[in-house]
C-alpha cells in the first residue's frame, strides 16, 4: 500500500518509538552514603487535561547536567521533543536548561505552527527544573 503523506517527520517517528532517556531518574546515591536526592531536581509544566504534561528530572553536579530524564503525556511531536532535549542537554552546563528554545526544537521536528504551544510547555518544564536547582542555592 502506498501512503501518500506521512503525518510526522522521520525524526519524530524515530524518537517516538525509541523514547531515549524516558522515565524517572533513579535516586541512587554515591557510594559514600551521601543523600541520594541532594543533586536531583525536577521541573514540571502543562496539564494532562489540556493534552500536554511534561516533567524533567535532572541530576546536576558541579553546575553540570550529569543525567536528565523525562516523563511526558503528549502528542508524538511533544514526546520526540522531550527525547531530543534530554539527549542534547546531557553533559551540558546547568544554564542550558533555561536556554533551550522552542524554535530550536520546532525546527528539528518540522513542527506544525499550531503545535508551538507544546514546545513552550517543554521550555517551561526545563526552566522550572533550573529554578528548582537555583532555588536550592547551589549556584
Amino acid at each position: 500500500m502506498t501512503v501518500s503523506k506521512e503525518p510526522y517527520a522521520p525524526i519524530v517517528a524515530e524518537y517516538f518509538e525509541r523514547v531515549p532517556l524516558a522515565g524517572p531518574l533513579d535516586d541512587r546515591g554515591d557510594d559514600d552514603g551521601a543523600d541520594a536526592t541532594a543533586d536531583l531536581f525536577s521541573g514540571a509544566a502543562g496539564h494532562r487535561e489540556h493534552g500536554t504534561e511534561v516533567i524533567f528530572h535532572a541530576r546536576i553536579r558541579d553546575r553540570r547536567i550529569e543525567e536528565i530524564r523525562y516523563q511526558v503525556f503528549g502528542c508524538p511531536h511533544t514526546i520526540a521533543a522531550c527525547g531530543l532535549a534530554a539527549e542534547g542537554l546531557t553533559g551540558q552546563p546547568v544554564d542550558a536548561l533555561r536556554k533551550l528554545t522552542p524554535a530550536s526544537l520546532a525546527e528539528l521536528l518540522v513542527l506544525p505552527a499550531e503545535k508551538m504551544g507544546r514546545m513552550l510547555v517543554i521550555q517551561d518544564a526545563l526552566r522550572n527544573c533550573f529554578l528548582a536547582w537555583d532555588n536550592r542555592g547551589l549556584g
Partner: protein, 392 residues
C-alpha cells in the same frame, strides 16, 4: 498478514467484487452510455432500465416502494435534502425541528443552517449510554414541530436508537420523521412502514458499494415532496436535478442486493469478531466501552483509554487502520461532541479508538489488533507521569 489492517469499515468499506463487476459491465456496455432520462431512444431506455432496476434493489432492503427512492450523491446530501428540503416545504405548518446532539454533522449542520432561516431547533441529549429516550422526543414536540431527525445507529459509538418507538410518537403527532441510516442499512432490519419513517438517508459506500452515490427514501403519502436543493433538468421528479450516474446507482443497487442476502450471516460473524476484540482489550486497566453494552450495532466498537494521549495512541496504532471516533483529527480540533454528550472528559474523548469490522475481517486480525493496542497503551503509559505526580 499484510499491514496495515483495516478496522475502519464504519468510515468506508471496500467495493465488493460483484459490485465492481456490475459497475464495470455498465461502463463497458455499448448501450449503457445513454442518459437514463432520455427515454425517447433505445440508449436512454437501456440506461433508464438499469437505474430503475437498481432503485428497486435499494427499495427492497428497506421495504419501500421503488418510486419512493431518490438518488443523491451521498448520505450527506440525502440528510441535507431531507432536512432542509422538508423544513422549507413544511414551513407554513411550523418552524420547529427536533434532533439530537449525537447526530452526524450532515444533520447538525443542516439544522444549524435552518436556524439562520429562522427555524428553531431542539437538540436532545442522550443518556450516559448514548441512548435517546423516545419520551424525550415526545416531550420536545410542540404544535410548531414539523420534523424530527434521529439517526438509527450512531456512527461513533454504534448504539442503536429505538427508531420504531420514535417513529410512532412522530406519526401520532403528525410530525415528519427523518432517519439517517448510513450505518444501519444492510446491518439491521429496516422497514420504513413498520418503523413509521418518512425520510431515510442511505449510503452506498458503507455497505461495499461505491462512493459518490446515495439515496433518500421519501414517503410520498406523508410528504408529497421536499423543496429541492439542486435545480436544473428536473430529474428524480424534480427533487434532485442532475444526470443520474448509471454505473454508480447500478453499483449501489447491487451492493444493497448483496447486503439483503448476507445481512444476518454477516451480522453474526462480525458480532463475534467485535466481541472477541472487546474481550481482548477490556482486560487492560482503564479501557472503557463507549455506549450501550447491548443495544449496539455489530460492526462498531468504541473504547476510551485513560492515561494516554489520543494523538500518540493513534500514531502508535499505525499497523491497524482505526478511527479516532472523534473529530479531533488536528491539533486544534475539538473533542467529539458525541463522546462529550455521554459524559466522557475531553481527555478521554481524545483517547478514543473506534474499531469497525467488515466481511473481510478475520479472527487473526482481531487478535493482532488486541496485541497492537495493548503494546501501544503500555508504551505510552510507561513514559507518562503518574497522574497527580508531586514534585520534590
Amino acid at each position: 498478514m499484510t499491514l496495515p489492517i483495516y478496522f475502519d469499515y464504519a468510515a468506508s468499506t471496500p467495493v465488493d467484487r460483484r459490485v465492481a463487476d456490475a459497475m464495470h459491465d455498465c461502463l463497458r456496455d455499448p448501450g449503457g452510455h445513454g442518459n437514463p432520462s432520455a427515454t425517447i431512444h433505445a440508449f436512454g431506455r437501456e440506461a433508464g432500465g438499469k437505474v430503475e432496476y437498481a432503485r428497486a434493489q435499494v427499495a427492497a432492503l428497506i421495504n419501500a416502494p421503488p418510486d419512493a427512492i431518490i438518488w443523491t450523491s451521498s448520505a450527506t446530501e440525502s440528510d441535507n435534502l431531507a432536512i432542509i428540503g422538508a423544513a422549507r416545504f413544511r414551513s407554513a405548518a411550523g418552524r420547529h425541528i427536533v434532533t439530537a446532539v449525537t447526530e452526524h454533522p450532515a444533520v447538525l449542520d443542516s439544522c444549524r443552517y435552518l436556524e439562520r432561516e429562522n427555524f428553531r431547533v431542539t437538540y436532545l441529549r442522550p443518556d450516559a449510554l448514548g441512548i435517546i429516550d423516545p419520551e424525550t422526543v415526545r416531550a420536545a414536540l410542540t404544535p410548531e414541530t414539523i420534523l424530527v431527525s434521529i439517526m438509527h445507529v450512531n456512527n461513533e459509538i454504534g448504539v442503536i436508537q429505538d427508531i420504531a418507538a420514535i417513529g410512532a410518537i412522530c406519526r401520532a403527532a403528525n410530525v415528519l420523521f427523518h432517519v439517517d441510516a448510513a450505518q444501519s442499512a444492510g446491518r439491521l432490519p429496516i422497514d420504513v412502514g413498520a418503523q413509521a419513517i418518512d425520510l431515510l438517508s442511505l449510503s452506498a459506500q458503507k455497505i461495499y458499494g461505491p462512493k459518490g452515490v446515495g439515496a433518500l427514501f421519501l414517503n410520498r403519502h406523508r410528504i408529497g415532496r421536499v423543496e429541492p436543493l439542486f435545480h436544473g433538468g428536473g430529474q428524480e421528479r424534480g427533487l434532485r436535478s442532475g444526470t443520474i450516474p448509471t454505473h454508480q446507482v447500478v453499483g449501489m443497487g447491487k451492493a444493497y442486493e448483496i447486503a439483503a442476502e448476507l445481512r444476518e450471516q454477516g451480522a453474526e460473524q462480525v458480532t463475534t469478531l467485535r466481541d472477541r476484540l472487546w474481550r481482548g482489550v477490556s482486560g487492560i486497566p482503564g479501557v472503557l466501552l463507549n455506549g450501550h453494552p447491548t443495544r449496539r450495532v455489530c460492526h462498531i466498537l468504541s473504547v476510551s483509554v485513560t492515561g494516554v494521549e489520543g494523538e500518540s495512541l493513534h500514531y502508535a496504532l499505525q499497523d491497524i487502520a482505526v478511527s479516532a471516533g472523534s473529530a479531533c483529527a488536528t491539533a486544534s480540533a475539538e473533542p467529539s461532541a458525541v463522546l462529550r454528550s455521554i459524559g466522557r472528559s475531553d481527555e478521554l474523548a481524545r483517547s478514543t479508538v473506534r474499531f469497525s469490522f467488515g466481511r473481510e475481517t478475520t479472527a487473526e486480525e482481531v487478535d493482532f489488533a488486541v496485541d497492537c493496542f495493548e503494546q501501544a497503551v503500555a508504551h505510552l503509559r510507561s513514559i507518562a507521569p503518574s497522574s497527580g505526580t508531586a514534585l520534590a
